[in-house]
């Protein structure tokens, strides 16, 4: 788990003078499940394609197992890719698609048959060998694509939004399946997605990217609990982000009130972004609250209600399992560990305000993140 396998050093990529990647520094350990997460156009697919050898960086190096591989063509790399929308060979059936890499490597026919059949079992497609690619469903094609890459037993498997074209139910199943395969085969996975839930639930390490830069690298829990800036806080889950002033260690002031918190190491009186996760907020009777606000909208989400509460002209999103109707006056309490402090960044003021909240915000963001490249 600890040996370093791939290192990206100062990677920069420019297309027509436009900077797609800006000094990416990253190392990937052997057997790690690492996810590049970010909105469309953030550079995650470009990074993946550089690792795969399909793009040459404008500057910077890619090191694999201690050797610089910038000039090594894809067919010589011990890396295989599961492409966005599969890229299966339409002139070959399922078996021949999976056998492709083994046959190129000129393995004996019996071994090819044996390994392909084993792989068909791994991806639950036993008996589908003679089927034509076009007769398969999206989920089945996806599994063929995964099998076609995995059968070569690569050191690293690159996956470019592999579940993007599948429906929600199938996507959930495949997430579990992929994680299982990764652990069973002990292969390093580099996974690209814009789906934060997918990234959090599958990865050992999440790399959050935006505008060609790495915003934060960390374990899923750390990324969620200690976002480095407003972008990460907003992209990973929902966040209320407020302007605050760090009075001293463990003391932050916002909304005209001083709160205890668990963060330290800021300059005295430094302006900071304060993150409060909607699910961390406790709703209490108005007279017991640190702050008192009025509910302005309620959306039933199944598991909980999303309510928008106005505090002194600023609207917060709060997730609660108890119903509070529109117009109700409520109080809230914030525990020290519910308050996360971040340095100000270029993203300050851009996220975390629910004043323009509408019930469709989920769908809107998902539509916008559809396609990359």
């Amino acid at each position: 788990m600890s040996k370093e396998l791939i290192r990206l050093r100062d990677l920069t990529m420019e297309f027509d003078g436009e900077r797609i990647l800006d000094s990416i520094n990253l190392y990937i350990n052997d057997h790690e499940f690492l996810t590049l997460l970010g909105p469309s156009g953030c550079g995650k697919t470009t990074t993946l394609r550089i690792i795969g050898g399909f793009l040459n960086p404008t500057s910077g190096t890619v090191t694999f197992d201690g050797e610089i591989i910038n000039d090594v063509p894809p067919y010589k790399r011990q890396i295989n890719t599961v492409f966005q929308r599969y890229a299966l060979f339409p002139h070959l059936n399922v078996f021949d698609n999976i056998a492709f890499g083994l046959r190129v490597a000129k393995l004996p026919a019996e071994e090819v048959t044996e390994r392909v059949n084993r792989m068909l079992e791994v991806v639950s497609l036993k008996g589908y060998g003679h089927r034509h690619i076009n007769s398969l469903s999206g989920g089945q094609q996806q599994r063929v694509a995964i099998a076609r890459a995995l059968v070569n037993e690569p050191k690293v498997l690159l996956l470019d939004e592999p579940l993007g074209a599948l429906d929600l139910r199938l996507r959930k199943d495949m997430q579990i399946e992929l994680k299982r395969i990764q652990q069973a085969m002990g292969i390093t996975f580099v996974y690209v997605t814009h789906d934060q839930e997918e990234a959090l639930s599958m990865s050992d390490t999440v790399v959050v990217m935006d505008k060609g830069r790495i915003q934060q690298i960390g374990k899923p829990e750390d990324i969620y609990n200690e976002p480095k800036n407003a972008f990460v806080a907003d992209f990973i889950g929902e966040s209320n982000i407020l302007d605050g002033v760090m009075l001293s260690d463990y003391k932050v002031r916002f909304f005209g009130r001083t709160f205890q918190c668990v963060d330290k190491g800021f300059a005295p009186n430094e302006s900071v972004d304060v993150v409060i996760r909607p699910e961390d907020i406790d709703i209490v009777a108005p007279e017991e609250g640190h702050l008192v606000g009025v509910v302005t909208s309620v959306t039933f989400k199944g598991l909980n209600y999303d309510i928008i509460v106005e505090f002194k002209g600023f609207k917060w999103l709060i997730q609660t399992t108890d119903y509070h109707g529109e117009g109700a006056t409520i109080g809230i309490r914030l525990n020290p560990e519910d308050i996360h402090i971040m340095h100000k960044s270029e993203y300050s003021g851009m996220f975390g305000d629910y004043s323009s909240y509408s019930a469709e915000y989920d769908e809107l963001t998902e539509d916008a993140e559809d396609e990359e490249e």
């Binding site: 063509p73 060979f89 890499g101 190129v104």
Partner: protein, 273 residues
């Protein structure tokens, strides 16, 4: 209602086909199966065709040869065009089409001027001391004429197939260990088979029935089936035999295109013959 409308709209063409295709075909069939003198039914026209078998064979041979040469010349061109930027693609496509805008007769006559005994090429050879060569009135000249005239018909379907080829499949092949040469053999070539067969058909069919090229560029021993048919109708004064020969040629073309379509697989070829 909708069905009636589409029948109505297609009526002019159906009538056209009836009058100018099906009926003439019937006439050809009638001629082929009747005696020139008495007009009585006979199979002797078809039987007499045996003597033309070598000519038929020669026609097929020349046409296949020119189709293959077109394929070898045309494939790299089509591949090159398909991998240019959108603007370059349009310009190159136009350039391939350009010769087709010129009269077919003129194009062939131009080659006469180039290849004849006192033509430009021979004058040049003479001037540099090599001496005049027999260029015209050779099988090579006929095949050259066919290749020159029909090359665009090879390039266009090939281009249509190659330009649709998903680039990610090439990346996938490289990803799975293929060198560029292997990628070509294992992915690009198999996926362009429909275009190849479409192109061969497009070249072969007009080439096998051509008569002008062989008359202008060929000699007495490079007579093709098209020349024979023309001769039988215009000079030999035996339209019945000519009609029989036409039918056989038609059958031959049908069989060939049938075989091509079978190998060409699905509709991917882009051009329907």
């Amino acid at each position: 209602m909708r069905k009636n409308k589409s029948v109505l709209l297609s009526t002019p063409y159906i009538l056209w086909m009836l009058v100018f295709t099906l009926i003439p075909l019937g006439v050809v069939g009638y001629y082929a199966l009747t005696d020139p003198e008495s007009g009585a039914f006979t199979l002797s026209n078809l039987k007499d065709l045996g003597m033309y078998l070598p000519v038929l064979g020669q026609s097929v041979l020349y046409s296949l040869a020119s189709a293959l040469i077109c394929l070898i010349l045309g494939y790299p061109v089509a591949y090159y065009i398909a991998h240019r930027g959108p603007v370059a693609q349009k310009i190159l496509y136009m350039l391939v089409m350009l010769p087709m805008c010129m009269s077919f007769l003129l194009r062939t006559l131009a080659w006469v001027g180039l290849l004849q005994d006192t033509g430009i090429i021979n004058n040049l050879l003479e001037a540099i001391g090599i001496g005049r060569l027999q260029l015209i009135r050779t099988p090579g000249a006929v095949i050259l004429g066919m290749v020159y005239n029909y090359l665009p018909y090879m390039i266009l379907p090939l281009y249509a197939t190659l330009v649709k080829l998903d680039h990610r499949l090439i990346e996938a092949a490289e990803d799975l260990g293929c060198t560029p040469a292997k990628t070509f053999m294992k992915v690009i070539l198999p996926l362009s088979v429909p275009g190849i067969f479409s192109g061969i058909t497009m070249v072969f069919v007009p080439a096998v029935s051509t008569f002008y090229i062989s008359q202008k560029l060929g000699g007495t021993d490079t007579v093709l089936i098209g020349d024979l048919i023309e001769r039988l109708f215009k000079q030999g004064d035996n339209p019945n035999l000519g009609a029989a020969l036409s039918l056989v040629l038609m059958a031959l073309v049908f069989v060939c295109t049938g075989i091509m379509n079978r190998f060409g697989g699905d509709e991917e070829g882009g051009v329907i013959v």
